[in-house]
């Protein structure tokens, strides 16, 4: 089995602060982490390897600064890491990103055929959930999104059975390898790095692939140029004409604040008055 896990390095949203005046993100000092959803993808791949043997390659498209994320993945037990990095990739939207990753996976497949690709269900920064399906389509792999459990993989029969989260229930799906699986959060318990793997991660070579190494055939499909969507405007949300009407609060007498608010609601907001009317206990 050769399993490829696609991951992305993202800023840790828990540490993001918004500049109070400009409304923009203050990126300085924000630690970079592996996209949390991708950890479930890594774990799913490693569990299959534990069970069936094989080789797990972790791959990311990103700037050279993303290398630590790949090393971290090695420390968790991945065998091999490839950073697909080239200045021409900059500014890619999801379509262009899936083109680059699909090309790189295809190229990697010439070294060692790929049976399964795992990704997280989405990233916490782009939040689109579009790259996984994009890669699958481009590689003509079977697509299994929002997978909550890998039920069975049979390398001999080249088949996989998974549980997939759908609206109102879970689909049990069977398909053929090669397949691309996007993993749901909480689908497994992500392991800690073992000491030997941590040492291995420090020494391991993270291969850097530029557009040639990745086997990019059409340079017009990568980066900003290859992206059909552009951001045409970035703006703050429109403040309402008037700010919130303040109901004065005195810590010594919270009840009169509550009473005054209730009075205003009943007087000024008919919809709320109606809702409350319906909830009155008959007395």
């Amino acid at each position: 089995m050769h399993i490829v896990v696609c991951i992305k390095q993202v800023p840790d949203s828990a540490h993001i602060r918004v500049h109070p005046v400009t409304n923009t993100i203050m990126r300085q000092g924000v630690p970079a982490i592996i996209n949390p959803y991708d950890l479930f993808a890594i774990e799913a791949a490693l569990r299959l390897k534990d069970r069936l043997g094989g080789h797990v390659t972790v791959m990311s498209m990103g700037p050279t600064q993303a290398e630590p994320a790949l090393r971290k993945a090695i420390s968790l037990g991945c065998d091999d890491a490839i950073l697909v990095t080239d200045r021409v990739f900059a500014g890619a939207d999801t379509l262009a990103t899936s083109y680059v990753l699909a090309s790189a996976i295809r190229t990697l497949g010439q070294e060692r055929p790929v049976d399964l690709v795992f990704t997280g269900k989405q990233t916490i920064d782009g939040d689109t959930a579009q790259v996984g399906p994009g890669i699958a389509r481009r590689l003509d792999m079977q697509l299994l999104t929002y997978v909550s459990r890998i039920v069975e993989v049979d390398p001999a029969k080249r088949s996989i059975v998974v549980e997939r989260r759908a609206e109102g229930g879970v689909q049990v799906l069977q398909t053929a390898l090669p397949a691309l699986v996007t993993m749901l959060e909480g689908s497994n318990e992500v392991r800690f790095a073992s000491t030997p793997d941590m040492f291995r991660a420090v020494r391991a070579t993270v291969r850097h692939w530029d557009r040639n190494d990745a086997g990019i055939e059409d340079i017009k499909q990568v980066g900003l140029k290859g992206s059909p969507t552009i951001v045409s405007r970035v703006f703050g949300p429109t403040p309402r004409a008037e700010k919130a009407r303040q109901v004065p609060f005195d810590p010594a007498d919270p009840d009169s604040t509550a009473a005054s608010l209730l009075e205003q609601l009943l007087a000024d907001v008919p919809k709320v008055r109606k809702e409350l009317e319906q909830r009155r206990s008959p007395s």
Binding site: G62, G126, V172, V234, A244, A258
Partner: protein, 363 residues
């Protein structure tokens, strides 16, 4: 090198469509239905699609896919009631239950045959799975989880607005030189239109040419959820939500107590959920549920854009926050600057008295 947009606006775009893309006309909505049940987001999208179609002076078309039969035909009728001028009926036994491969083939085939300029889908598990595959196959742009859709009258472009990462900003995304322009929208973000039972339209059949034996993926079983704990949250008329400002898990019971008296549903911010104070199915916001109640009470919530987009359609928002400069006061209707641990019980007492309910002693 990121899928997230750069922080600065980009210069005025120039649209130059290829010859063959000029023929793309009309607004389409994919009607998501499974096991005889239409996902309400599809009708919400029809309401929005109607407005876009009118601005563009084109037809609004519904795309209905499934196994042939009376159920599918009834769906077409419903689509007309919700505003469709035309309904593409894609009937095949292979499409009885959702699987990515045949649905992708059928929808891309239909797009290539009838060429819409806009294609909208619900941002559900199904919609996102399908939209991502279809957009890649068609090599066109797709914007996920839009909170606002509009048309630029100058160049007929679809302006898809969504929150940006982290910051309290929104960005508008356009698809330049590709058609159709695709977008997904989450449930409850757009209002539900009133159906008009007298409306009729034109049904156009499309044969997707699918053969079951060529479909690799098999659906072995469907395990329905035993219970969704929060099916009512998106439809609740009163919601009481708590955020990180509650300080600790125990204080969340103050939110429950107020909700109890009000007959309200309980919501939360992602920060409160990450803290482990409440279950994830109660998250309100961009990556949680969208609510549109008459009354939304936000306790200890800063008002980050990702939360805001999930609740700002509320008729009346009451914010309780100890920081007078918290962003939530910019869009709340009533504000109380104070400690929510003190304010919540006072509100519970006041509402209980008003509603004639017993006042349990809390906190």
């Amino acid at each position: 090198m990121t899928a997230t947009p750069p922080a600065k606006p980009i210069k005025k775009r120039k649209i130059k469509l290829d010859e063959h893309l000029l023929a793309y006309r009309g607004v389409w909505v994919f009607i998501e239905n499974e096991r005889g049940h239409v996902h309400p987001v599809s009708w919400e999208l029809m309401g929005q699609g109607r407005q876009l179609a009118e601005q563009l002076q084109v037809e609004l078309c519904a795309v209905v896919m499934g196994a042939p039969g009376a159920e599918l035909d009834a769906l077409c009728e419903s689509a007309f009631h919700y505003g469709a001028d035309r309904c593409y009926r894609v009937a095949s036994p292979v499409l009885r239950l959702y699987r990515n491969e045949p649905f992708t083939q059928a929808l891309t085939g239909l797009v290539n045959a009838h060429k819409p300029e806009i294609l909208l889908l619900g941002a559900t598990a199904l919609g996102r799975d399908l939209a991502g595959s279809v957009a890649t196959t068609l090599k066109t742009g797709l914007t996920a989880d839009c909170t606002e859709l509009a048309i630029d009258p100058e160049d007929r472009c679809l302006l898809s607005t969504r929150p940006t990462f982290g910051g309290s900003l929104l960005c508008t995304i356009v698809t330049l030189n590709y058609r159709p322009q695709m977008a997904t929208v989450r449930h409850r973000v757009m209002p539900m239109p009133e159906p008009q039972p007298e409306r009729r339209g034109l049904i156009v059949d499309f044969d997707p040419g699918l053969v079951e034996d060529n479909v690799v993926t098999r659906l072995l079983e469907f395990l329905p959820d035993s219970q969704d704990n929060t099916p009512h949250l998106p439809y609740a008329e009163i919601v009481v939500s708590g955020g990180k400002g509650l300080g600790k898990a125990e204080n969340f019971r103050l939110v429950w107590a107020l909700a109890d008296v009000l007959g309200a549903e309980v919501g939360a911010t992602r920060a409160a959920i990450h803290a482990g104070w409440i279950s994830a199915d109660r998250q309100v916001g961009q990556t949680g549920k969208t609510v549109r109640p008459a009354l939304y009470i936000a306790a200890g919530i800063s008002g980050a854009i990702q939360h805001r987009v999930g609740m700002e359609a509320s008729d009346c928002i009451i914010a309780i926050n100890s920081d007078p400069n918290a962003p939530i006061f910019d869009f709340a209707h009533y504000g109380i600057v104070g400690d929510c641990v003190q304010v919540l019980p006072a509100l519970t007492r006041a509402f209980a008295r008003h509603l004639g309910k017993p006042v349990k002693e809390i906190a």
